[in-house]
Subunit: 135 residues, 3 copies
Amino acid sequence: MKTSVISVTTGREKVVVDITEEVASFVAREGDGLVNIFVPHATAGVAILETGAGSDADLLDAIDRILPPVDDLYRHRHGTPGHGADHVLPAWIAPSIVVPVIDGVLALGTWQSIVLVDPNRDNPTRAIRLSMMGT
Amino acid sequence: MKTSVISVTTGREKVVVDITEEVASFVAREGDGLVNIFVPHATAGVAILETGAGSDADLLDAIDRILPPVDDLYRHRHGTPGHGADHVLPAWIAPSIVVPVIDGVLALGTWQSIVLVDPNRDNPTRAIRLSMMGT
Amino acid sequence: MKTSVISVTTGREKVVVDITEEVASFVAREGDGLVNIFVPHATAGVAILETGAGSDADLLDAIDRILPPVDDLYRHRHGTPGHGADHVLPAWIAPSIVVPVIDGVLALGTWQSIVLVDPNRDNPTRAIRLSMMGT
């Protein structure tokens, strides 16, 4: 298994960050296999989404509706108000996803991008582990 | 890695389509390993669910409650009214799942089926990539 | 592929059960690879979450808000009132997740634990299949 940890700058706002290029570079020249994208953080997730047409911002709005960042809904409270919601998010948007790789190329659809979903304003950088099981 | 793309007819309504048989055929005689089911579309997901007892229709209702198909909630608008919700769905119901295979048989529980979740009425057929990493 | 089924006691309440130790024992001395955690039940999921600081209980509350355990929302009704919600849950919190393993150690972040999410009060024990693809 080839494995590597990359670093992504997320800043101090809730963000969806497109990491497709980084994953594509990692699997280039690796033949066929499955690549796992794994975020070793308790307040972020990984998703596959169309980016650039508004859905990334739409997702952040949906997260606020589905898991309201309101302190009194959560026992786990520290940091920025509503941060308890960030700790529940990874159960719904998991920190792990698998994408097939064919001849060193991600087998994504035309409109799919791999994104880091990070509602947590308290961590300005994030690690992501990429792992490729080839044949 | 053995890999193959199948085509599924989803029609013009929101649907949950049972694809267990197609995946079971793909892994038959493949020994032990992990099969990945991946949908290369930006408005559909893959899930594991009991089918045939109403939960498939219950899931479609839940999607409409959790991600209301109402244009004014989404920046990404085109096609059928409420289609912006379809573009947010894959963050919550991911287009990728892994199922263990033992001696060529899916290691599903008695009541589990693998399903394509497709709220998008604008695409009547869908591709699904099946990939098996064996040992 | 190394594979094994473990049994977890969940009792008669809605619970989040930390299974990190069981998975860590399973992968110990297995080198590098990907471990899949798979629950062969139609009313439970697997998640990666911080435990011990309230987020496990916060998640159970969030499940009740997002998928209300109210009979009239679901066609699939049997067992405990509101059980129809349990059958929809696995579409949102999937029964399958993959975690990278480096030199026999789970590559989890400091605050991440692997948990079984089981809102179903009708099943006091659950099986979980662990499968490791190594190199």
